[in-house]
C-alpha cells in the first residue's frame, strides 16, 4: 500500500516539477479564469444589486473552463512527447498512474481556484474567501478532476482532441457543477452548510461515483 502511494506521489511530483519549470499550464489557466470574469462582467453588467445572484454561476463556469484547459494539456503533453509509454512501462498498477495524474490535475486546479477567489472577491465586491466556500470548491473540483482525468486520457488519443474533451466532460459533469453552484449560492445567501446539505450530499455522491468509475475503467483507457 505504502509503495503504491509512493508511486502516486512520484507521478504528482513529476507533474509539479515539470509545471514549475515552464509554468505554462498554470499561467494559461490563471489568465483564462480572469478573462472569463471580465467577459461575464460585460455580458451580465454585474452590479451590486445582481452580483450575488450571478456570482456563483460566473465563478464555477470560470473554474470549469479553466479546469478543462489544464486537463487538456495533462495527457496530450504526455502523449506527444512519448512520456505516456514510459509511464505505462513503469512496474506499477494503472490505477496508480490514474491517481497520480488526477492528484496533479486537482492540485493545479485548486491552486488556480485559490488565486482566483480573492481576485473575484475584489472584482465582484463580494466576500468569497470563506471556509464554507472553500469546502464546496474542493468537493466540486475533486469530482471534476476525477472524471476529467479519465476523459482527458481518452481524448488524447482521438481526432479533434482539444474539442472532444469539453464535449465529453461537460454533460457528464453538469450535475456536479449544478450542485456546486447551488451550494455556493446557498451559503452566499447566508444559509449554513447544514441547509445546503442535500447539494453537498450530491457533490460527495458524485465524487465517490466518478472516482470509483474512473478507478475501475482507467485500465481500459490506457491499454494499447
Amino acid at each position: 500500500m505504502s509503495s503504491a502511494w509512493q508511486a502516486v506521489w512520484a507521478i504528482v511530483k513529476k507533474d509539479i516539477l515539470a509545471e514549475l519549470r515552464t509554468k505554462e499550464t498554470l499561467s494559461m489557466m490563471l489568465i483564462f479564469v480572469l478573462l472569463a470574469v471580465f467577459i461575464f462582467n460585460f455580458a451580465f453588467d454585474l452590479r451590486v444589486e445582481n452580483v450575488r445572484e450571478v456570482a456563483p454561476g460566473v465563478m464555477w463556469v470560470a473554474f470549469v473552463f479553466a479546469g478543462v484547459l489544464g486537463l487538456n494539456r495533462s495527457f496530450i503533453q504526455e502523449a506527444d512527447k512519448g512520456c505516456l509509454d514510459g509511464l505505462l512501462m513503469t512496474p506499477v498498477e494503472r490505477s496508480v498512474i490514474y491517481f497520480g495524474k488526477m492528484l496533479g490535475n486537482l492540485i493545479f486546479m485548486l491552486v488556480v481556484d485559490a488565486i482566483a477567489l480573492p481576485v473575484f472577491s475584489v472584482l465582484l465586491n463580494l466576500a468569497l474567501v470563506r471556509w464554507d466556500i472553500a469546502l464546496i470548491v474542493v468537493l466540486g473540483t475533486l469530482g471534476f478532476a476525477g472524471v476529467g482525468t479519465l476523459f482527458s486520457a481518452m481524448t488524447a488519443n482521438t481526432r479533434a482532441r482539444e474539442v472532444m474533451l469539453p464535449l465529453l466532460l461537460f454533460p457528464v459533469a453538469l450535475p456536479l457543477v449544478l450542485a456546486a453552484v447551488k451550494a455556493t449560492a446557498g451559503v452566499l445567501d447566508g444559509a449554513g452548510l447544514r441547509e445546503v446539505a442535500n447539494w453537498l450530499n450530491l457533490l460527495i455522491g458524485y465524487d465517490v461515483a466518478f472516482l470509483t468509475i474512473s478507478y475501475l475503467t482507467f485500465d481500459y483507457v490506457v491499454e494499447s
Binding site: 472532444m164 454533460p171 457528464v172 449544478l178 468509475i213 475503467t217 491499454e223
Partner: protein
C-alpha cells in the same frame, strides 16, 4: 443460414410489436377514461411514459453491454451497446417531444428549466456525445473500449434523471410512488399495454440494428479481402 434465422425472428417480432402497438393505441385513445382536469390531452401520457421507459431501459442495456465488453472484449457486446444507444436516443427524443406537447396546454409552456427537464436534457446530450465519440476514433478496438467507458460513466445521468422528480420539488407529476399509483385501474391497464408494446418494439429494433452492424462488419471484411 444463421443470419436468415435471426431475420425471420425479427420479422415475427416486428409483426407482434405492430399488433401490440395497435392494441395499445386502442387502449389509450378509447378504452382509458378521460382524465377529469386535463381532458383528452392527458392521453399522450401513455406514449410519454412508455417511450421514457424504453429510453431508460435501453441506456441500462448499454451499461450492461459496456461492462460485458470491457470484461470479455467481444465485438458483439460493443454492437449491442451502440445499437441500444441509438434506439434509446430515438425513444428519449420521442419522450421529450410528447412531454413538451403535453406541457404546452397544461403548464402553458413547451419547456421550462425544472429538475426533470434539465436532467433529461443532460442525458440526451450525453448519449448524443457517445455517438460523436465513436466517430472520432479510428482504431476499432480503441473505439469500442472508449465508448464502453463513456457508456458506463454516462449512465450516472440515468438514475439521477429518474429520481429528479422524487428528490427535488418540481412541477413534473410523479405517478409511481412508493405508496402506489395515481391512476384508475383502466388507465393503469392502458399504460401497462403501452409499455409492453413499445418494449416489444425495442427488442425487435435492437435485433435488426445489431444484425445490420454484423452485416456491415462482414462487408468491411469482404472489402478488405478484395483489396488484397
Amino acid at each position: 443460414m444463421e443470419r436468415w434465422g435471426v431475420s425471420k425472428l425479427a420479422i415475427v417480432l416486428h409483426g407482434l410489436a405492430g399488433a401490440a402497438i395497435l392494441v395499445a393505441l386502442y387502449m389509450a385513445l378509447v378504452f382509458a377514461p378521460t382524465e377529469a382536469t386535463m381532458g383528452h390531452v392527458q392521453r399522450i401520457f401513455y406514449w410519454h411514459v412508455a417511450t421514457a421507459w424504453v429510453g431508460f431501459f435501453a441506456f441500462f442495456i448499454t451499461l450492461v453491454a459496456s461492462i460485458a465488453y470491457l470484461r470479455t472484449g467481444r465485438r458483439r457486446w460493443d454492437i449491442v451497446a451502440l445499437s441500444s444507444v441509438e434506439i434509446g436516443l430515438a425513444f428519449a427524443v420521442i419522450m421529450t417531444v410528447t412531454g413538451s406537447l403535453w406541457a404546452k396546454p397544461v403548464w402553458n409552456t413547451w419547456w421550462t428549466w425544472e429538475p426533470r427537464l434539465t436532467t433529461v436534457a443532460i442525458m440526451l446530450l450525453i448519449y448524443a456525445t457517445y455517438l460523436l465519440l465513436r466517430r472520432v476514433i479510428e482504431d476499432p478496438g480503441r473505439r469500442a473500449r472508449f465508448a464502453a467507458v463513456y457508456g458506463i460513466a454516462g449512465f450516472v445521468s440515468v438514475p439521477i434523471t429518474f429520481m429528479a422528480i422524487r428528490w427535488w420539488r418540481t412541477i413534473h407529476p410523479v405517478i409511481f410512488k412508493s405508496e402506489g399509483f395515481d391512476l384508475t385501474p383502466a388507465m393503469l391497464a392502458a399504460l401497462i399495454v403501452s409499455v409492453l408494446a413499445y418494449s416489444l418494439l425495442y427488442i425487435s429494433l435492437l435485433l435488426l440494428r445489431t444484425q445490420l452492424e454484423f452485416l456491415s462488419d462482414e462487408v468491411a471484411e469482404l472489402r478488405e479481402s478484395l483489396d488484397e
